[in-house]
Symmetry: C2
Subunit: 344 residues, 2 copies
């Protein structure tokens, strides 16, 4: 348990330096001595002390990942992508669950500042672009998923929110809808902003006038979606479709509809974003947008590690991946139904 490199060296009849060489680069050592050393390591059950190694080499080969909340498959899938790719490159990953608190995110930033990790990946955090840029400017390695930051040293991967949002609305229009409500997420989140932008552009595409009262805020949460829909109904607005900026809010819409006796999709079509696992179990199954989460994590971390190893520089820093619309029951009229939307 507390055998150290000198013990191994003594047992193998070599110097600590040689043991170190065997442990790291295998070149510069005879096969014969290499075997002697390996044998000694084996027999002593020796494990190099990480702290000593990190202190001496000034790197930990560890990447930190801050996720907004690990209780959602959006984050866990991305993390899996990051982790597997990182391990393949000899890097460890520390997962941090910020539980939706900015304060907790800040807490985890210390991992970077105290050099516990070599680099930090933020998955759509609450921390602002400015704060992230400040870190990068100080020389720390930072990368982001699900967000675009204008900075030479910050790798990004995200999906084109505007693009898929337009597709969502287009699909709804093709189903005969014109009174389409948009449920926004956190008002200051980039994702919200861009999805709203896509919604607006799509309305223009189809010559549908924009009605400000058709946009409600649901803060990306189930309960937020629930309350947003209730507010809309109370306002006596007449609409036939809801585009929720994520599946969580769509779930809230389902709950509100159940209470109010609104039938999905006949009286109200619903589409979410994220392809949350629940979306295909719920009744009716929820139409949604799928992002290639695992791939996003993997692509990003590969680039990130390259950057940290200085193998590669600024050639390709930003990765935009494609999302796909998954049409399920919640946005399609039931077979046999003749009537158009809005027939309450």
């Amino acid at each position: 348990m507390d055998t150290k490199i000198v013990d191994v060296a003594a047992k193998a009849g070599v110097s600590p330096a040689t043991v170190s060489r065997v442990l790291n680069r295998s070149n510069g050592v005879t096969e014969r001595t290499r075997l002697k050393v390996m044998k000694a390591i084996e027999e002593l059950g020796y494990h190099p002390n990480a702290a000593a190694k990190h202190l001496r080499s000034q790197r930990t080969k560890t990447i930190g990942v801050i996720a907004q909340d690990i209780n959602s498959t959006y984050f866990t899938e991305i993390i899996k992508g990051i982790e597997n790719m990182a391990y393949a490159q000899g890097y460890r990953v520390i997962i941090c669950d910020a539980e939706n608190h900015k304060e907790k995110e800040q807490e985890y930033l210390n991992l970077l500042l105290d050099r516990t990790i070599d680099g930090l990946i933020l998955i759509v955090p609450l921390i602002t672009d400015e704060e992230i840029i400040e870190l990068a400017d100080k020389g720390y390695f930072v990368a982001v998923v699900g967000r675009h930051i204008q900075h030479d040293r910050i790798p990004c991967v995200y999906t084109d929110n505007v693009k898929f949002s337009r597709e969502v609305v287009k699909h709804l229009v093709q189903q005969g809808h014109r009174d389409i409500v948009f449920l926004n997420g956190h008002p200051d989140a980039v994702d919200s902003f861009e999805r709203l932008e896509g919604y607006l552009k799509a309305l223009r595409d189809h010559q549908i006038p924009f009605r400000p009262e058709f946009v409600e805020n649901g803060h990306f949460s189930e309960n937020g979606g629930y309350e947003a829909l209730k507010r809309l109904v109370e306002k006596q607005l007449s609409f036939t479709a809801v585009f929720a900026a994520n599946d969580e809010m769509a779930l809230g819409v389902y709950r509100a509809c159940a209470e109010l006796g609104i039938r999905i999709p006949d009286q109200l079509a619903v589409i979410g974003v994220d392809n949350n696992r629940i979306s295909k179990y719920i009744q009716p199954t929820l139409s949604t947008v799928n992002q290639p989460k695992y791939t996003m994590g993997a692509i990003l971390v590969e680039k990130f590690i390259d950057q940290m190893n200085e193998n590669q520089f600024e050639n390709k820093r930003v990765f935009v991946v494609d999302s796909e619309l998954i049409v399920r029951e919640s946005s399609l009229f039931t077979v046999g139904k003749k009537s158009g939307p809005g027939n309450k």
Copy 2:
């Protein structure tokens, strides 16, 4: 970024030792010098180097947590409990996602061996009791959730599988069922074994003869549950209720029933275990067993940290928490339905 303790010391006009004292124990330092030092730290933006600290102090104040798969709320809830309590005690937590591979679990064991972490918590891992005990015997700190290990130095927290399984079966019997199928998890998992035991005891409680063909293996997975139900039906067995050892398998049962045209709960009652989030969204809502996951994590880590700090010894090492049966639609006959179970 690379300011060190000597820089702070120089700036504050004191010795490195004094700075260290300010940083750790605040006693033995005048308020005046403490303020001087704090000011210097602030102005230089100094952050102590973790590796150096760990190397010197021989502890990292970090706990590792290996979860079988972070893609399930069972694990994430426990992790949240662990993390929040650990942080409150000044400990960091490293989350490891083993993705259901024993090999990956072994990989993460290195964190313990190379002293990156002071202690390791395993949440129902695939690693065997023997392997865990071996670590403990070597002097490493290890603890487990959802499993009971007979060893003085290994804190455990789990829920009484036998007890709640009996309750589940009792509830089904009270609903009029006698032909109750049990869907087992991994055949070698303790949880499976104990839930099966509870099932058997309950049958005895109600004088229902045990039929071996009523037990099928579903490996705790959705697909496993799906296939298990199909096998049962192919065997032409007649049964009116399914007790699945977890919600995932119950989900598989739902899918199989949908394909086979079996109505839940009228033709088949279903109960799972875990209170997975999906269980209350699915139609019909799934009856299940809820374990106090967050609390389990919190209780355990508190004890574990005490142990690592040697504040406390062997007085209370094993925590058994209570689970509760949550009855939802999948195990209740629809209102208005007169007929008993099994009326296909």
